[in-house]
């Protein structure tokens, strides 16, 4: 069976890259699309810009920049949200791109998740990715807990509630 295509939002790239797990997404997806606004968000900081460029170079057929979605639809969805239109643009582009190509959205932000729901798309977050990797035997429950501790220690945003639920299911202590 062909692996699905994933479209990822900036906060999930940051969290998964901090754990050096982005390359392991090749186990879950055939391609990982990075929309324009997500790239712009990641390019704002030198460290994430360099990392993204390295990943694109090392996994050029997997980590793929994408721009071929309807910007008009993105503008409609962002109308009235912010005056600058920058906030939420990454999540919105991820959802519109996923709808266009039938991809799964990887997003933690509540607005992006609500939008994906409205679009009747399959969507998951960083915690789901960790869980899938654990189910594939690529992470032990202990290592998974260590990953979450690292995110917390480094003050990288992730949904703590969902993380604790997963730890409980795996018989690990909550954070």
């Amino acid at each position: 069976m062909r692996k699905p295509v994933g479209v990822i939002d900036a906060s999930c790239v940051i969290a998964l890259d901090a754990l050096n797990l982005l390359p392991r997404l090749t186990w879950l997806f055939g391609r990982l699309l990075i929309p324009k606004a997500v790239r712009a968000e990641l390019y704002r900081r030198r460290i994430t810009k360099d990392r993204l460029r390295t990943l694109q170079r090392e996994y050029e057929h997997f980590v793929v920049p994408c721009d071929d979605y309807d910007q008009g639809a993105v503008d409609v969805l962002l109308s009235g949200r912010t005056s600058s239109g920058k906030k939420d643009r990454g999540e919105t582009e991820a959802v519109v791109q996923a709808a266009a190509v039938g991809a799964i959205v990887i997003v933690d932000d509540p607005f992006g998740r609500r939008l994906a729901e409205r679009y009747s798309l399959e969507y998951h977050g960083a915690i789901w990715v960790l869980e899938r990797l654990q189910l594939l035997g690529l992470l032990t429950p202990g290592v998974l807990r260590h990953c979450l501790e690292q995110l917390k220690y480094r003050r990288i945003r992730f949904p703590v509630g969902a993380a604790n639920e997963l730890l409980q299911r795996l018989g690990e202590e909550k954070l």
Binding site: V74, S79, G102, E117, Y119
Partner: protein
């Protein structure tokens, strides 16, 4: 629960219209599914499983067709009919005349010279359907927007 709408668009060239309708629906609280582009580039033997699941879940199926109808679009509209979904198809004259025998009474011909006809057709269609008043109001608004998008869509 939000009204679930399925947009069956004619060919790849209608995808932008469908995508904008999806966005307009989403900002107005509707759940709108638009089949992905690969469904319009391949010639499938049967309906895409994801599309079928979303058709089953849909309250209303809206066909949006300009010049041509892909095999996938036919399959979706026929499946909607078999499943007994409320189906309305907005189409330009050439496509409308092909569709009318298959979906009698459910095809709205979009005549650029007389767009009001299609507009009143939407209202007539919704009068026949059993939906909440709020849902009907939302669909009239979305149908009007679809009409506008189709009328102003760039021609090949």
């Amino acid at each position: 629960m939000a009204l679930r709408l399925y947009v069956a668009y004619g060919t790849a060239s209608d995808q932008v219209t469908a995508s904008r309708l999806q966005a307009l629906g989403a900002v107005n609280g509707l759940n709108v599914y638009v089949p992905p582009s690969y469904t319009r580039t391949d010639t499938p033997a049967s309906i895409d499983p994801k599309s079928e699941a979303n058709l089953r879940a849909a309250d209303v199926v809206l066909g949006v067709i300009t010049s041509a109808i892909s095999e996938a679009c036919w399959q979706e509209l026929n499946s909607a009919k078999r499943m007994g979904r409320n189906t309305i198809v907005m189409a330009e004259p050439v496509a409308a005349s092909r569709l009318e025998p298959h979906f009698p009474g459910n095809v709205l011909m979009i005549d650029p010279a007389d767009p009001a006809q299609a507009e009143s057709g939407i209202v007539q269609f919704l009068k026949k359907t059993e939906l909440e008043q709020d849902a009907k109001t939302a669909l009239i608004a979305l149908g009007t927007l679809a009409l506008g998008l189709l009328l102003f869509a760039p021609q090949d």
